[in-house]
Amino acid sequence: MTHDFDPRIHRALDGELDRTALTPEERTLVERLDAASRALSDFPAAPGGTLTHRVMGIIRRPLQSPVERFRRWLTSPHPVTLSLRPVYSVIVAVLLVALLWRAPETPLLAKHEGVAQFVARFPEAHSVAVVGPFNDWRPEATPLSDDDHDGVWDARVILPAGPHEYMFVVDGERWVADPMAGKYVDDGFGRQNAVMEVRPVRSE
């Protein structure tokens, strides 16, 4: 480590030049350097450490873990500059709209498919479902809804065109043949299933 001291100052600090030979400004500087040297000498010494090690030992912050550094990087603000030509901006906007826009829920039907509308009036019911071979007779598969709570439940189901047997299950336990069906068939278990004929939506 080197310093560009005035040689006279250097000599005075080393005791080679009598300080009375110095100008008042030079004498003041020498006294300040002496004071600084004494202050550093009084600093508590770490065993075996140099001055640099001792000072850095005190001012060094504890090491951060990689996770902590990554978290700080994530949560600290960073300037981001995005340069786009307007035409690209428009394309990106159109693509986003196309991706996010949802078409009305009108399913595509095959040639020999139709929509069966199941409607039932059960004013006291808490739940109504339609069951048939089309859902393996599982009451949880096709629930009817009564959005306006008027006791009229309905569901629209896509089925192959043709006749279909069905029943309603009220409150998960009461099996009822649709009283409005007008067409019934014995189910082989001592009851009757209602029959609905589903017409194809597309004409043949």
């Binding site: 189901v157 896509i158 004929e197």
Partner: protein, 216 residues
């Protein structure tokens, strides 16, 4: 080697059927149901209606012996339906829906001779709608033979498929207007094929969903 592959191929549908039935049909009914399904498979009958009948019995809490009886009755009806299709000279091979719709017409009370008459008159299309138009008329008190004659006449004028249901509906409307059933049939026959078609109500498809089966 070939026999082993054939055996595995025969076993595969039964395993699928078995996995659909397990837990949904009483265990006591399963051996009987599986035996009927195996027999149907051997005779190239559709097995899906049999699985559905067993699932129906299980869902309705029917006794095991009643489930086996009902599945057996379904198998007999499917066999009869297939034989009637063959006997009437309907062009094969017969699909599941075709055999099933004839079977359902039989279950709705149409006798074999009426089914044969209608199936014999249907050409190049599935007989399901024609049979169920007759079954609809029969359910509303029309004489079965006269009903079948009307539907056969409609087929000869070129009406097919679900339009035959419109023919039955037109006869019903005539009765509601005060005609006797015989008069109604005669009036509708006189205007064939100019039968008004039932319009699809607007928004009928909105919100419609496809049902899911437990195996799919």
């Amino acid at each position: 080697m070939n026999q082993a592959v054939l055996f595995l191929l025969l076993l595969l549908p039964q395993q699928n059927d078995g996995s659909r039935l397990a837990g949904h049909v009483p265990a006591a009914a399963l051996p009987g149901v599986h035996a009927i399904i195996a027999r149907a498979t051997q005779d190239s009958l559709p097995t899906e209606p049999l699985v559905e009948k067993a699932l129906e019995g299980g869902a309705k809490g029917a006794a095991p012996d009643l489930i086996v009886t009902a599945v057996g009755a379904e198998e007999a009806r499917l066999r009869n339906a297939r034989d009637l299709l063959r006997g009437a000279g309907a062009p094969g091979p017969y699909g599941v829906s075709e055999i099933q719709s004839v079977s359902l017409a039989l279950a709705r009370g149409l006798p074999d001779r009426i089914v044969s008459k209608v199936v014999g008159a249907v050409r190049d299309t599935a007989p399901g709608f024609a049979l169920h138009a007759v079954a609809d008329l029969s359910a509303h008190g029309f004489v079965q033979d006269s009903s079948a004659s009307l539907i056969v006449a409609a087929l000869r004028t070129g009406l097919t498929g679900h339009r035959l249901l419109d023919v039955a509906a037109a006869a019903d409307r005539e009765v509601q207007r005060g005609s006797t059933r015989m008069q109604a049939l005669a009036k509708v026959r006189a205007i064939l094929p100019a039968i008004p078609s039932q319009p699809v109500p607007p928004g009928a498809m909105q919100g419609a969903t496809r049902p899911k089966k437990s195996g799919g």
